[in-house]
Assembly symmetry: C2
Homo-oligomer: 599 residues x 2
């Protein structure tokens, strides 16, 4: 049985019908592209995903990397897949032609990455981290750093990492203790212990380029004293050849519930004389540079979570279409042949729940990616600025809402498989284990709630939230011109949007009055409320497109499925906005009252 | 670090303050008991749990049983634990003195079993299944069957199983195909393939007693043609000694996400001449007998799920009390020492969510167990009948609500541990994997929804739901006499109860009108709504007890914690009743409209 990755019809719908990606070919940057080259890129990524990533997905799970004290070993298929990805040029999908890239829209590059993630999320981590690290260097590194490190990374000769967390500092990066001391020659000596470094050691590539957060001695406390360094596993000579081993040691591999093919490492920097590090940009601005990578990683986490949700949906759908069990509720004849379980209302409930979560999540991820294209290539300065704002405010939703609900989708997928779903013979149990990481890494979902409420909705005097509201109102106005049920959903979305605005005002006023803990204590629920509203909006947008297609007599079942899913979301999910809003508006202090000794 | 199992203070609160277990000592059956003997039984079970079950919990997970084609091998600690449990007499905790039992209340026996489940759910399965199988034989077997099979099971010399599922028949037992043919000597020859048989093979005991559902040739189709047979692994001679190997073969072990210490087996009956089987009771009534065991197993699943939820809660609470990370939201001084994470509102939210789910679930499980004691020993016939009705209607909630929400609790536990929670170095990832089975086995949670709405609320003209409502109203009346907030919660619960009644009427009327699929299609949501109402009631009962204790000046923090948890439940969880009710009342046909081709 082939591993399920995507419903290509849905992906095309999202890219071309919802997000109108073809319109980008009107812009100078993408002038050489057309629908054909876009499709070819997706075809290429899907082929790599199917041929190189999917086949060892289960094998990598069952055969974790090992460390004998000297070297990390893993199954050879991981390297073959990473190499194939790089050789196909997918690491450079969105990069300039001059860099050897395909100069594809970022949205399309994300779609390509999504396919590889859906096929094998743990192997995809190696390329995703490398791509994000290289892009950080392209944005903030010196010309020499770009040449010496970023270029080999984009070629796949070197792989990259992001090295933030320490045993005592995970969510609280301001507390990192790793030090950097100037060596007198422009380089630094790095010393400290890091943990949970994904892809932190392996032999997949000639070299590993660690991007490491550390404090230059004497730097201010907290996040304002953090600098960012390139610390390669092997030093790189001026001619690009590898020099000696740097003072970075693998202290051990971490064994995880899932994502088992990705090494998760404890790294010791500077056990001897100190690891050689190269400062990126200016001292003490490291965290702001790292956010370039963290934002990419957060979007990547959301995309990976979404694709795991999507894979579970497709697997359970396939099972539901073939498995026979029981009789329909209004058939009490025991001698009648069993029903196919896709026809049981409870199974349809679990399929629809998955469909709205995963297709809604993918729409959200790709909509966010589309903003990156707008930010880069929109005609006006205003449009570019607005796209940046939307991307900023959507990022915590892309990371947290999708990872929360795609895991809930996976719960349903297992449930549809019944006892089989719990066994390691079927794919959904690994998917569920893999996906459990996504609400944690790159900033826990609780942290994302604080990022959304405490930072993103407040920045620029609330400009991002206001803009998001404007975009939603445009859709509401458009939907109001349709017949029921779409016009009714427009009203419901308008209500939810007003609720979000009202709750936001209540919370921010209270925060401004000094009760920050009370105002922000339920930030997760706030994110959940906003996320549901945004995804409802994206479903309404899909329903509008689908209704127009139906009116034009096209592809009936696919579009009816979209409209039915929208109906499910508005009926089963959107009402949660009101419940969350009621909770948030009360500014109840239950959480603050919960003394440690009460537990 | 010691494995966490229970907050003994809470267990004592539930047993003695909420459920007034000491009052049972007034009844003849328990006259020789007092609080001291009750406590000793709990102490004993806790000691066995801590000393024999907990120490190999992780080891059994990491070292699954193996099958070499001849024999099943597993780590020796499993047998030591099972033996210790039996030698301590815990298999007979609630049985008559004449049977060698302790004649303890069933509620207490369940509490004892809970501790062992919390320590090691996969090893506990061997004793739980044996106990439930032996009790079925005591209730429905012949005297000879009791002597030859049930007695050695209660001694732990033989272990038991329940053998229902076949590859094509899981939720739909009416479709089983295993056959039973009379051998002419009063015995039968059983042939068929069974799957997902927990504890279906091992060498933990001299013998394994399978209770097997099969069809006697010529029996009616469906559930009315199913009979129940004893099929021992080894035949048992009249003197109780073991005879030859029966024709039951292990076709293979199933590898699961969790519960890895429990063998899950495919068994082939009658590959040769047919397995010797002994009919229990009358032909074609097998499913009704098996329900004796299935109900016990469903309560056992709920209890196990609850204890896994509880364990995760305690582990994450312990971590939250020691882990330092970040600053409180209103402290922006980066040089201040980090906060203990238990003081972050978002962590408190996740702790309170766990507390209300797991302590609420344990209250529900023990309240249900208490009904078994009432059913057996209440003074009046009416009281005994009523207890039986309550137990019947609570069983699907005990199985499904607890398993759903204890897994949600485990999600929060991992989240509190952050990245560490996802690693196999910490206990919560195993707990999460173990607990994922519980919404599936012994009737999926979807099936439980149908059992509740389609069967339990309708039986005896709705007598069980009416009675449950009466019990809730008694609490509401009592709570109305308190000050706020308790009196306010009484009103809210009254509202939820009225809502449940109203929704039930709407659904049953529609079902009676013939639209069964429409009326019952959202049965899971119905169960969720009723479960939330029932657990809110149990929290209100706890709050009343706690307020009285506070008024009497006792044990302040513990009781304040109970009241705060009740507040959390009413604020964060109970509003979901209204949302579910709104959905159910609409009798919307979205699920019925979801044609296979729409997905």
């Amino acid at each position: 049985m082939d591993q399920k990755i995507i419903n290509r019809r849905d992906l095309d719908f999202l890219l071309y019908e919802l997000l109108d990606l073809e319109s980008l070919t009107q812009r100078p940057r993408y002038a050489e592209h057309d629908r054909g080259t876009f499709d070819s890129a997706v075809d290429l990524a899907l082929r790599i995903a199917v041929e190189k990533f999917a086949p060892h997905n289960r094998k990598a799970d069952a055969n974790e990397p090992t460390f004998d004290g000297q070297r990390v070993s893993m199954i050879p298929e991981v390297k073959e897949a990473v190499d194939a990805y790089c050789e196909a040029g997918l690491m450079l999908a969105s990069h300039d032609y001059e860099q050897g890239g395909m100069q594809l829209p970022f949205t399309l590059a994300q779609a390509a990455l999504a396919l590889v993630k859906g096929a094998n999320v743990s192997t995809s981590a190696y390329v995703m981290l490398t791509s994000a690290a290289a892009n950080l260097l392209l944005a903030h590194g010196s010309e020499e750093q770009k040449k010496r490190f970023a270029e080999p990374m984009l070629e796949g000769r070197f792989l990259g990492t992001m090295v933030l967390t320490e045993p005592q500092a995970g969510s609280s990066l301001g507390d990192i203790r790793t030090t950097a001391e100037p060596a007198g020659d422009g380089t630094y000596r790095i010393k400290g212990n890091k943990i949970f470094i994904s892809a932190g050691d392996h032999e997949l590539s000639e070299n590993i380029v660690h991007l490491v957060l550390a404090r230059i001695k004497g730097a201010p406390a907290g996040v304002k004293g953090i600098s960012l360094f390139i610390v390669p596993k092997f030093l790189v000579n001026e001619d690009g050849s590898l020099g000696e081993r740097n003072d970075v040691a693998l202290a051990g591999l971490i064994h995880k519930m899932g994502y088992r093919g990705t090494t998760s490492t404890m790294l010791n920097f500077g056990e001897k004389e100190g690891a050689v590090g190269y400062l990126i940009g200016e001292p003490n601005k490291g965290l702001s540079y790292m956010f370039h990578m963290m934002n990419a990683a957060r979007i990547g986490v959301g995309l990976g979570a979404t694709m795991l949700g999507y894979a579970g949906y497709l697997e359970s759908l396939d099972y539901a279409r073939t498995r026979q069990q029981g009789r329909l509720l209004d058939n009490k004849d025991p001698s009648a042949p069993p029903a196919t379980i896709v026809d049981h209302p409870d199974v349809r409930r679990m399929l629809l729940a998955q469909k709205v979560f995963v297709e809604g999540s993918l729409a959200l991820c790709l909509y966010a990616a589309r903003q990156l294209d707008e930010q880069k290539t929109a005609d006006s300065e205003q449009a570019r600025t607005e796209a940046g704002l939307l991307l900023d405010i959507l990022t915590p939703l892309v990371k947290a809402w999708t990872s929360h609900y795609s895991l809930e989708a996976n719960y349903h997928a297992i449930q549809i498989f019944g006892g089989y779903g719990y066994t390691r013979e079927y794919p959904v149990e690994q998917i569920y284990r893999d996906n459990r990481l996504n609400p944690i890494h790159e900033g826990t979902n609780g942290i994302q709630g604080l990022d959304l409420l405490g930072r993103k909705v407040r920045m620029h005097d609330g400009a991002a939230l206001k803009l998001l509201g404007q975009r939603m109102r445009e859709t509401i106005d458009e939907a109001a011109g349709f017949d029921a049920p779409i016009s009714g959903w427009a009203q419901e979305l308008a209500g939810a949007l007003a609720t979000v605005g009202d709750v936001t005002r209540v919370l921010l006023e209270r925060a401004a009055a000094g009760d920050v803990s009370l105002a922000f204590g339920n930030a997760w629920h706030y994110l959940d409320m906003v996320g549901h509203t945004v995804v409802a909006w994206l479903w309404l947008k899909q329903a509008i497109v689908a209704q127009r297609a139906l009116d034009a007599g096209r592809d009936e079942d696919f579009y009816r499925g979209k409209i039915l899913a929208c109906r499910y979301f508005f009926l089963y999910e959107l009402p949660k906005v009101k419940q969350q809003a009621d909770l948030l508006r009360r500014l109840d202090d239950t959480l603050l009252q919960a003394k440690e000794s009460y537990f």
